[in-house]
Amino acid sequence: MSNTSLKEWTEFSNLTLVPEEVKGQYERFTKATNVLVREPEPEVGQSPKEVIWTRNKAKLYRYTSEQPRKHAVPLLLVYALINKPYILDLTKGSSFVEYLVDRGFDVYLLDWGTPGYEDKNMKMDDYVLDYIPRAVRKVLRASNAKEVSILGYCMGGTLTSIFAALHSELPIRNIVFMTSPFDFEDTGLYGSFLDEKYFDVDKVVETLGNVPPEMIDFGNKMLKPMANFYGPYISLVDRADNEQFIKSWKLIQKWVGDGIPFPGEAYRQWIRDFYQQNKLIKGELVIRGRKVDLKNITANVLNLAAEKDNIAQPHQVEALMNAISSKDKKYVLLPTGHASVAFGPKASKITYPTVADWLEKRSS
């Protein structure tokens, strides 16, 4: 809309004849359009940090703070292979990392980086046996600690469980799993979409190399297509007069639409071994020739599920509880969704304190 016509419309809308309701609608539409086409993307991942280790595209960050470190056991964060590292450090005042650092934890984050075409042969084996153990050793060395805590979010938790089961020699004191799927027997619509009869994972990997983030995002959105494709825009128009909502909306949209490619071989394993054959919970998963037995996990475990989670449904998450040998283990069902467990008002009020309180008691 040109400036002249905008001015004309503004003058027209100021007339008393135009009902207040219509004026309000117009203003909300204008604001929503501005948000979509004019406003810059929000800045994310701004907690101060330093890189303490790199390998290929992966980086290990240590978050720095003026706050004194109160807990002897450092905390390593591991997230899914398909996300960007800022998902746990979205924005100032609503960042999981910031909260943990402020509570006196020595926080580290393993950033997977963005895989290139040359990484299409990367397998889960590489991440679980070459990257996570090395990161854990680096954390132990950097913090001069004897034990470590790990928090795995979404698929990052599934990877962490495999790592912990295969590395009983490493001093892992606490593990927090945040909406991580372990049992893939009933995955809802994923099960139908990824059925071997209709979804040829070999063909996907051989043709694409790495699986593009758009394809993964499309698959996730297809779980509830109308709500996921159009719902956010309806909410935006509906609540465009709420600045706080717009801020959160922009952040969550950035998160959802800013994925990274899934390395081909790891994707093949993830779909076949987990979604199509459910090998992990059955104890049939083999990683570089070693069988993964979740019974080997003896660390203290906090297992968090989210009520409204379509991606890692609560029953998929809870299944871990009977599969591990930990004596100190707790399952908590949070009133959130898959993303809102880590970001937003509910995350700040419920998730963050739940994790920090539990860890605090076990980190001295």
């Binding site: 009902p19 309701e21 219509v22 609608q25 539409f29 390998r55 290929n56 290139g116 075409y117 040359e118 990484d119 299409k120 042969n121 070459d130 090395r134 050793r137 060395r141 619509l189 139908s192 979409f193 059925d195 009869k197 209709y198 979804f199 040829d200 063909k203 996907v204 043709t207 694409l208 297809m222 779980l223 509830k224 297509p225 109308m226 709500a227 159009y230 719902g231 309806i234 128009v237 509906d238």
Partner: protein, 151 residues
């Protein structure tokens, strides 16, 4: 008060959206959806494969490195990077072992010193005891000699 409700296209659209959303979500559970999605994916993959092969062949003919060539070079660099990282880890491990060896050496020296001190003290005690015994023996002998002489 008589409030007349204005026609609100957005609200109408929202209602329509909510109704269609429920219907679509229900239909997604049907097997035919998975079948259609599978077919669409297969068509896309076929197209992508054709495009990949054509591009690769063209690049080869005009002597321009393809994506595969570049990724092969990158893979070589990554392998070197991994080896350097492994070496770094080995060096760190060795260094930390050396530190612990130095600690072990220091502790050994401490133990040695303590044993030496104990040894010295023991020698002193033995010397004292020997002296004491000799003095006592001499005293007893002299007493016995005196008795014999008196007798």
């Amino acid at each position: 008060m008589n409030q007349q409700k204005n026609l609100n296209p957005f609200e109408l659209w929202k209602d329509l959206f909510n109704q269609s959303s429920t219907i679509i979500d229900e239909n997604l559970k049907d097997e035919s959806t998975s079948k259609v999605m599978g077919q669409v994916l297969e068509m896309n993959l076929l197209y992508k494969k054709m495009l990949n092969e054509t591009t690769e062949q063209y690049f080869e003919q005009v002597n321009i490195p393809t994506r595969t060539d570049l990724s092969n070079i990158s893979a070589l660099i990554i392998n070197v990077d991994s080896k350097v990282d492994d070496l770094e880890d080995l060096v760190e491990e060795t260094a930390s072992n050396l530190v612990s060896q130095a600690e072990l050496k220091r502790e050994m020296t401490d133990v040695k010193n303590k044993i030496k001190t104990l040894d010295t003290k023991l020698n002193e005690i033995i010397n004292l005891l020997t002296k004491e015994t000799t003095t006592n023996n001499n005293k007893v002998a002299s007493k016995e000699t005196t008795k014999i002489q008196q007798g």
